[in-house]
């Protein structure tokens, strides 16, 4: 079902949007949001953000809308396509296609952090935040385990054994019926046990994620860097990376941002102290950057990770500041001045997005 603001958003591409046109676009958006793969979803993210997409991907999306409206233009309506992409993404976030929705939301949060809101759908940041927050809480909700099931299973097993002993050969048919009933009940119970077991595994993941993060926070040290933690430039980049490494379920915990801020403050750096992205990246040892970049440098979604692109660009040149023009050319703006906390948050968002993306088969 289309988002409640669909017509509102689409009307920005029109001076007057007629009902019939709107209805046809809704049909196209419904169809796309119900079937979009992760790859198509990321194409929609790029379109919405005004980034470059391949001509064939763009044509495929236009074709989808043209299927419901033969007069849908195949060119000259770039802004309309941008708005439709955003509207479809909002619709995906409201659906129950959680894998796809999570990737869409994380890609948007990763990109929007630095480039800001694209034109047309100012509500998108709120929608993404609400989705990620709700989803994060829901996958980490306390799972109630019903341990008596094991006792029930045991009772059935005993009954079965007793039945087997008490019945003789002459009443074989009765024995079969008794066996069948007992087995059916056991299958049901075993399914429930399996369900409980998977809940145990999920609980275990959440608990291990929490305890790892707590240890990291308590120890006040970086796991991948032996350095003075009070050096804010290392801290800005490395803390975001390390927290993302500790996340086991996507999206990350709701408390991640507070944790980052707390961690930065605990080691003696003012989280809101302004530094520059250039200084933060250059402040990290080159070999550390190289090792890190080798983990994601060939990712196909790097264009949605503006800080990581900066790290990658910094490794293309020998001199510290020579990468800035390369970065500006790729992203269309100069690396900005940001606080230590803001940089760590951006790095965290980008890293968990990459990690979540890698869990999908696109």
């Amino acid at each position: 079902m289309a988002h409640e603001f669909f017509a509102e958003w689409l009307s920005k591409a029109y001076t007057t949007l007629d009902d019939d046109c709107c209805r046809r676009r809704v049909e196209g958006a419904d169809s796309l949001s119900a079937t979009a793969s992760a790859r198509v979803t990321l194409t929609l993210v790029r379109l919405f953000l005004g980034k470059e997409v391949s001509a064939s991907d763009l044509r495929a999306i236009r074709n989808r809308f043209q299927k419901f409206d033969s007069t849908f233009p195949m060119r000259g309506n770039d802004y309309e396509i941008q708005l439709l992409a955003g509207a479809v993404l909002a619709q995906i976030l409201a659906s129950e296609r959680y894998d796809i929705a999570t990737i869409a939301a994380m890609a948007l949060r990763s990109s929007l952090g630095l480039i800001g809101e694209p034109s047309g759908i100012p509500e998108i940041t709120g929608i993404v935040d609400a989705y990620l927050s709700t989803r994060s809480a829901s996958i980490r909700a306390v799972k109630v385990l019903t341990s008596p099931l094991i006792r029930e299973l045991d009772i059935h097993l005993r009954t079965l054994r007793k039945t087997n002993k008490s019945l003789d050969e002459a009443t074989g048919s009765l024995r079969r019926e008794t066996y069948t009933a007992a087995f059916d009940e056991m299958v049901e119970i075993l399914a429930k046990v399996a369900e409980q077991y998977s809940l145990c595994i999920e609980n275990d993941r959440v608990i291990s994620e929490e305890s790892n993060i707590h240890w990291w926070l308590t120890c006040e040290s970086l796991r991948t860097v032996q350095t003075d933690l009070a050096a804010p430039n290392w801290l800005a980049i490395a803390s975001g990376r390390e927290l993302a490494d500790l996340v086991r379920l996507y999206p990350g915990p709701r408390a991640a941002y507070n944790t980052l801020r707390h961690f930065i403050g605990r080691v003696g750096v003012e989280p809101d102290e302004v530094t520059s992205l250039v200084a933060a990246i250059n402040g990290c040892d080159r070999s550390w950057r190289l090792e890190w970049e080798s983990q994601w440098g060939t990712s196909t979604v790097l264009d949605l990770c503006p800080v990581l692109q900066g790290v990658k660009a910094s490794l293309l040149v020998d001199q510290e500041h020579d990468w800035v023009p390369i970065y500006s050319k790729i992203l269309g703006f100069d690396p900005p001045d940001l606080s230590t906390y803001q940089i760590s948050e951006l790095v965290y968002n980008e890293c968990i997005f990459l990690a979540a993306f890698n869990t999908l088969e696109v």
Partner: protein, 365 residues
């Protein structure tokens, strides 16, 4: 440039006789018939040897008349000529569908200075940057010039004058594309809906008439104009004050204006207000306080502009306030219609997840 006729049928001599061997009338409808355009060929048939081009003759330049073929007519129909006049809805949509476009609606009663405001923005841009913004392009230069002409010396008028905007809603848009002086950002398209004051006067008294002004609902900026000259006249000030207020209230009640709109409150003819009595100026200030109290919380953003597009009084420069007004259009961000509520964690959430985000993300870096 000349047209040559030729036919693929070997027996056909349409090139010389003009008659199609297959009997098609006109001969151009025959599938074997073709015309080619040549450059630099002589009009003298003797220059072309019959051995090499047996079916070719030099045709005169075609004349455009009512008898041209259907195919030619459809080609003509597909090539809209650039008129430079106001854009209709469909024409404006070609811009809005392609690029983010700011739609600015000038709203105000008859003779409050809506058209003059548009004309003087163009005049100011002709003289150089307006504030920090440069003229980049316009699809409606003729429409702008029609608004400007009566204010120029060449028009023969002894004082600047502006033509009245014709009534009707069919082609209300004038287009302007501006760019920041630093040339770092892309140009921004602005569509200005300049409707006649009579449309707004009808809208003041009728919901149906107000609902017909569709541009307002889509507008990014509603420029609500108060006639400064009338505000300082004791006999006229009450109507000059109340009618725009009624209009704004009606638009809000009809949900045509709301939290997603930027409202520019413009006191036009500010040179007249400046030269008015202290009591008249106090009246204007009280009016602004009323607007603030009644409407600020009901719209997205509300800003006051004192504008003297043309000044007839010393001490008040012409184009006063225009740069600030244009800056407010260019720099405004889109406003969310409704704030998306962030969910409150339910009771089954783990303690760790209850420490919610302390995010202070920096937007639009």
């Amino acid at each position: 440039m000349e047209l040559l006729i030729q036919c693929a049928e070997p027996e056909c001599d349409v090139a010389t006789s003009g008659v199609c061997v297959n009997g098609f009338t006109p001969s151009s409808t025959c599938p074997h018939f073709s015309q080619i355009t040549t450059v630099g060929l002589s009009r003298d048939p003797s220059d072309i040897t019959t051995e090499t081009k047996p079916n070719v003759l030099v045709a005169p330049e075609p004349r455009v008349d009512s008898s041209h073929s259907t195919a030619e007519a459809s080609v003509c129909a597909m090539l809209p000529l650039y008129s430079g006049l106001e854009l209709s809805d469909e024409e404006a949509q070609l811009i809005t569908q392609n690029r983010p476009t700011k739609l600015v609606v000038f709203a105000g009663m008859h003779d409050c200075g809506k058209t003059t405001l548009a004309a003087e923005i163009m005049h100011a841009l002709q003289a150089g940057p307006l504030g920090n913004y440069l003229f980049a392009s316009s699809r409606t230069l003729v429409a702008f010039d029609q608004r400007c002409y009566r204010s120029r010396v060449e028009s023969g008028n002894t004082s600047p004058h502006t033509l009245r905007t014709p009534q009707g809603l069919s082609s209300p848009y004038i287009h302007l594309c501006l760019r920041e002086g630093s040339l770092t950002n892309q140009p921004t398209d602005i569509l200005i809906a300049d409707l006649s004051g009579e449309e707004y006067e009808r809208a003041c008294s009728s919901n149906d008439a107000a609902g017909e002004i569709a541009a307002i609902k889509r507008a990014n900026h509603l420029v609500l104009m108060f006639d400064g000259k009338k505000l300082i006249e004791p006999k006229e000030r009450e109507l000059a004050r109340s009618r725009p207020l009624t209009l704004l209230r009606r638009l809000i009640e009809l949900d045509m204006v709301g939290p997603a709109h930027h409202i520019d409150i413009v006191f036009s003819k500010w040179d007249e207000v400046q030269s008015g009595t202290p009591e008249a100026r106090a009246f204007v200030e009280r009016l602004m306080v009323t607007i603030d109290q009644k409407f600020r919380s009901r719209v997205g953003h509300l800003v006051r502009h004192d504008i003297a597009a043309r000044s007839f009084h010393e001490g008040v420069p012409a184009h006063q306030g225009l740069a600030e007004l244009v800056h407010s259009w260019m720099s405004s961000r889109e406003l969310a219609k409704t704030k998306v509520e962030q969910p409150i964690p339910s009771s089954d959430v783990r303690s760790f997840s209850q420490f919610t985000s302390a995010s202070k993300r920096k937007k639009n870096v």
